[in-house]
Amino acid sequence: MNRPGRLAYNAAVVVAAAAAAMGIGAIVLAAVGADIMKAYAVILTEPLKDLIGVTEIVVRAIPLSLIALGIAVAFRSGILNIGAEGQMMMGILASSATAIALGSLPKPVLVPLAILAGAAGGAAWGGLAGLLKARLEVNEILSTVMLNYIAAQFYTFLLRGPMMDPEELVMGSGTPQTLRMPRSAWLDRLIPGTRLHTGVFIVLALAVVVFVLLWRTPVGFRMRAAGAEAKAARYAGIKVQRYLVVAMLLSGAFAGTAGAVEILGVHRRAIEGVSGGYGFTGIVVALFGGLHPAGIIPASLFFGLLLLGADMTQRLADVPANMVLVLQGAIILAIVSARQFMNNPYAQDRLARRLAKLFGRPERYRAGPDCPDPSDSPDPCLADERPDDGASGEASR
């Protein structure tokens, strides 16, 4: 297939995947009796109508992009981190404990310290799954899912017990929440009247860090090599097991940072439901962003829009907000299916031949009866096939 043909093919795959994902969503929307077009219109445009909406999208995109960056590091290193939700909760606990305990410190010290504490909390929880995988071959998907449930219980335990705001006990309302953070631990708001906070800059800085780490350093190269082909990496002398643990530590640290930034910037105290599914949405964001920082930032904005829009459909189109989970699941299924077709020279050829059959153009690769077996040496009959292979080799693995 020639170059415009390949572009058209890839575009067609993207369109088909988007249509499939929206189609699955439409089935569920139809099942709840909603106006499908109206529901999609509300989800995709309603949040963009005022400044509050736009800033709220960014507020949601901040933790999403941090988590997705971490998940991208793990995926690139060959380990699926489903545990961002739990790692984020651990980050929140560590960060809020630090901020409350050391509240007398000046702001330039306390804020970085609280964020680092969050990162450490997340890293510990993620590294645990990494160690289990590296040492005991425990499937990381199952272990991280289990660690999510454990973290959720631990979080409630601390919020209802040791870390509960003493005033809640006195007042007797018993809301599970910690003390309010000291003012010196807050991340400042950027625009008065909105919740947009300086966490945005942390995201942008860390996106650059991830890019440099993965694509410009030897450590990143080894991590990606271990993820791309563990066996080959091992023969090249890369300690694959060690990089699994490193990747999970980093991935957990990003999720923990997301938790810390979220409470220091938005809630200013640990309450229940802070993580609210960000850990799972982060997986979708990472995949949607092509596991690359330059894709993850726009993807996180898109999913910030989706999350906010889904909240609004509850009120405007009578569709429960859980709908966003349906869309996320459908998007994951569509992306992983489409990835098998994108840049796949084999599928392109098959499609080209099928189209040729349909529209009556002469078939390629059957130039004449005198061509030898194509599996042997390069042959003039196949001359037009070869240059394509190198350009699209990555996707075929």
Partner: protein, 316 residues
């Protein structure tokens, strides 16, 4: 309360708890034997639990009420099989990576069940559910009677399915096909077994079992539906398959071990021993991790092509 009475209580509680894990685990065993790792089990169970809940909820008071549970179970099985086929389309036909696709299916099933539940039911409401059906004669036996023969029909069905699945997997031609496409699909393909078709069938059966497991949870165990009803049981069922070494009998052992641990924890709480509630709830999840770290050697006998898509046109 004597120790004997206490242990008897644990057993009486534990046996019905194991059923959802057992049903889902049996289905997952077939999936994994066929070489497909279905992490969407959790989502399928959520859908199954939800659709099974609908007929008893809406048909209460109508003449059809007597059949409502049966219709609910049938719907759950059908919904489960449908989602199993959807998963097969993604991982068998499109050859997508199974781990992440499973998470996608889990979100889809969980989200769809929650969305529909909020739209059509709203708050948490109970249904009458499936009633216990003591087996005449046997249920009066001391100890064994209340432990084994005083449950609802789905419990008996689930335990009867263990030998049935063992027979299906190890003694029938279809079982041989399933095991061969999970172990050496290329050889199976060269012998004329249609690898994709067998995997589709296995996933449909596994999905149906997960749907049935969900129906058991909402109709027989909890007798209600809530968003978080499944609470990770689908993932635990996947882990149990490893623990049970891809053998229905082993999966039953694992399911019983888990549910007895849970029953023990509940009984300890009821007995008034002070222990933070949250740590008690954590117990099964911690147990999964411990169990998974102990079963590494099981790889030897597991399906060697587990998790790998098969492309018959690919050269080795």
């Amino acid at each position: 309360m004597s120790l004997g009475q206490f242990l008897l209580n644990v057993l009486i509680l534990g046996v019905p708890f194991s059923v959802a894990l057992l049903l889902a685990g049996l289905g997952e065993t077939i999936n994994q034997r066929a070489g497909v790792f279905n992490l969407g089990c959790e989502g399928i169970m959520a859908m199954g639990a939800f659709v099974a809940f609908l007929p008893p909820y809406f048909m209460a008071g109508t003449p059809l009420e007597g059949y409502a549970n049966l219709i609910g179970v049938a719907l759950a099985i059908a919904a489960g099989a449908l989602l199993g086929v959807l998963f097969a389309l993604v991982v068998v036909t499109f050859r997508a990576p199974q781990g992440i696709a499973g998470i996608g299916l889990q979100m889809l099933g969980w989200g769809a069940a929650g969305t529909l539940f909020r739209r059509y039911v709203g708050g948490v409401t109970g249904v009458q559910g499936i009633r216990a059906m003591p087996i005449p004669g046997l249920s009066n036996l001391p100890v064994i009677g209340p432990v084994l023969f005083n449950h609802n029909p789905l419990v008996y069905l689930a335990f009867l399915m263990v030998p049935a699945f063992w027979y299906l997997l190890f003694k029938t031609p279809w079982g041989l096909k399933v095991r061969s496409v999970g172990t050496y699909p290329r050889a199976a393909d060269s012998l004329g077994i249609r690898v994709s078709r067998v995997r589709y069938q296995a996933l449909a059966l596994g999905g149906a079992m997960a749907g049935l497991a969900g129906a058991y949870l909402s109709l027989a165990q909890a007798k209600m539906f809530a968003d978080d009803l499944i609470a990770g049981r689908g993932f635990i069922a996947v882990a149990l398959v490893y623990f049970g070494r891809w053998n229905p009998v082993g999966v039953m052992g694992g399911a019983l071990l888990f549910s007895l641990a849970q029953a023990l924890q509940l009984s300890i709480q009821v007995a008034g021993i002070d222990f933070p509630y949250e740590f008690a709830v954590m117990l099964p999840y911690v147990l999964v991790i411990v169990v998974l770290s102990l079963v590494r050697k099981a790889r030897m006998i597991g399906p060697s092509e587990l998790g790998k898509p098969f492309d018959r046109e690919q050269r080795i």
